[in-house]
Amino acid sequence: MSTVKEDRIVLEMQHISKQFPNVLANEDVSIQLKEGEIISLLGENGAGKSTLMNVLYGLYRPSAGKIILNDEEVEFSSPKDAIEKGLGMVHQHFMLVDNLSVTENIILGSEPGKAGIIDYKSARKEVAELSEKYHLEVEPDAIIESLSVGLQQRVEILKALYRKARILILDEPTAVLTPHEVDQLFLVIKKLRDSGVSMIIITHKLEEVKAISDRVYILRRGKCEGLRNTKDVTKEDLANLMVGREVVLTVHKEKKEVTGDSIFNLENVIVKNEKGINALDGLSLNVRPGEIVGIAGVDGNGQTELAEVLMGLCKLESGRIYYKGEDISELTTKQRRNKSISNVPADRHRFGLILPMTISENMVLGFHDEKPYVHGINLALDVIHNYSEKMVKDFDIRTPGVDIPAGNLSGGNQQKVILAREFSRNPDFLLVAQPTRGLDVGAIEYIHSQILKMRDRNVGILLISLELEEIFSLSDRILVLYEGKIVKEFVPEETTDKEVGFYMTGGKKE
């Protein structure tokens, strides 16, 4: 394949630890990267992959350990130092200036030209040459805003190459791409490797690891759990290493016969995103009482819009939404919530809680104007206080009191506050999005068992999650969401994560 010596080690991170005020994000992690090699950093959300790479890229300073680059110990105080030493990083959220051109973005910070004046002519030429050399075709004068996500990622890669990067860090590079774009990206990555660029890919997708990397480091809870040669390892092994236990259902779920008419229906729903593209493109689904319907899908296939349109937070372009047989398409968020529809939002800090307000104030958010929490125009503060104390007890929320700001709680306890608020309303339909993102195992199991409890109370539940494992362990039915449509329906017992994953990434069976 490549002609470079496979054995020369270009980068070594030795015994890296990174302590944040409250978290030990990395603990004694060591990795090696050889010239012209692709390694993966595999791990769940919060395993410390990004922190490690940010340490490497000079965004964080390590608390302990050292970095050896081309046999020389280096200390980066900013990304600038890292860039100068030949490192490049393609961030998950692109570092591109939207209203500047491709050329301007690529040359930013290292512009050609004398006396502080940019030589646009030679810049454009260099960019064109570079994109030709690596087969990364892109229009040099296009404005970033007008480009697709895949093309924007190309600009990011070109930006690193323009700075003569020999080591490229790619942070979740496929997270936002379409399958076709993923294929193209993999081609680009292989070409780069052939020209001697070493790469570190941060990912939590097993497929990707198998597809492109030579070796894989597995991270779990900040520690390195192992190193494998990709060709010698099965996906099951990787999965076990990644989650640290046999992948089994974390909670005991009893099979249950679901009968009765559906409680919640979406019919041909179309929602446009801010760019005017159909984020939901004629989506239909139904949820029956007492069942959990899991929406599986790669991020960015319409999950956000689905949650929003259910709660009346974005405009329904066309289609209808029925709840208990009644058309609720035109109702406001408030009216929907009053019809015993509850919602656990995906981003709890942004949409679930008001962090500076107290726990008891958060506990009645959205219901603060209903009996018994209101007395005339006033809040019934005593009632709210007592209710909150009861909830804290019932849901095992660890807090010194109900009058402290919600922002002072840990993530798991914050999520419990939301569950307490939403579940105690005795809903008939429940929308749960990403309920366990970033939480520890204990909290995850607790939250899963609470969700199942709601199912046993005959509540219809729609679960949107990016974690396939979560979908499998909770759902009675799995719907695969791809490009704003439900492309396939499964029963978890009769399928595999591989099959679901196949449809999630746009695969089709004849």
Partner: protein, 417 residues
Amino acid sequence: MQITKLKPVFYVLAVISGIVGIVMYFSSIFSGFFFILLALIIYYLYRLLATDLKTVKSDIIPLLKNLLIPLIGMSSAIIIGAIIMALTGYDPIKAYKALFYGGFVKNWSISILNATPLVFTGLSIAFAFKAGLFNIGAEGQYYIGAMVATFLGITFNLPPVLSLFLIFIIGGLLAAAYNFIPALLKVKTGAHEVITTMMFAHIAKYLSSIFVRGMGGDSAGLHPYVTDPILDTNWLMRFKSIFPSANYRVHIGILIGIGMALLVNYILYKTTFGYEIRAIGQNKDAARGQGISVGKNIFIALLFAGFLAGFAGVTQVVGLDHKMYENLNAGYGWNGISVALLAANHPIGVIFTALLWGVLDAGGQYMTRTTQIPNSIVEIIKGIMLFLIVARYIYSWLGNRIKRKLGTRIKKSGGAK
């Protein structure tokens, strides 16, 4: 619990004692201070009897903690002011003596008069801030309130109390209406209220010039122009009618201001409307997600802010000036920003910061008269004070600096081992 049955008694005692004390104090009878003190003692005694020492402590300690940074900021500003004066050849000790004597004792009545409109504009801006809005154009709503009060004050010939009541309400409502377009644009198009209300403030200033000339008055070449005086029956009551020893100009506007501050405090922390306002101010997305109407609340909040600022203009006309001057660069709206920020947007805090500003202004004038030190030093001290209190990051920045210095020293000594 028997003591809880006595709750109303304690409350009534505390309130009466407090009101008596405040009214006496505002009438320059400084022994009123003891009644205010008494009110506080009764209140906390009641709290102590009804609950326990721990609860009372947890009431008071955060309060004192919150006062720490303002106190540091104030004293630093006073010290910096002293240095500036010393460097430019003035005697800072003499200056501050005159400043505080003038502000707190000699010209206490002027301090109150200065503070009165600031309470209202400060409340207006603080309330808007709570909803996440910056009502920077309170000055404009002030002008509207003043114009309405002048117009109605001249034309209304009704029974005194009714007429005053109507003037306040109509003045407030029209000032609120003046925020209608900024509020509408904010909700419908997202136009930033800082820009729109600021522009409207400038427009109001020029409209007031037209108004003043239109309302007749003494335009015989005299500059600035001034309107006809309002009818005597429309004058706001003065403290002098309660305590004859009070200054003849001090009116009960400050009491209305304090009442308004209590009302705003009540709205913000006890009512569902206030709850929604605070929720939106702190996290618009979460509030919207839980079904709170953001647009409606923002709209109402801006109008209510206008209403409060309008009261400042009304009070000033019916209470103190009894007519309206052209090109009067009072700046109560602009200074209201300082007052609100200094109080960290807490309505009760606004009363005190407005009084502080009033004291500094009145004391500054007295200082200039008696010591010839220019009172603009007060403006400079005010500005520095504001910076030091509002830019809280300064303190964590300083803290980090010190920590880092200590840290390197420890590292060094550690390395020597």
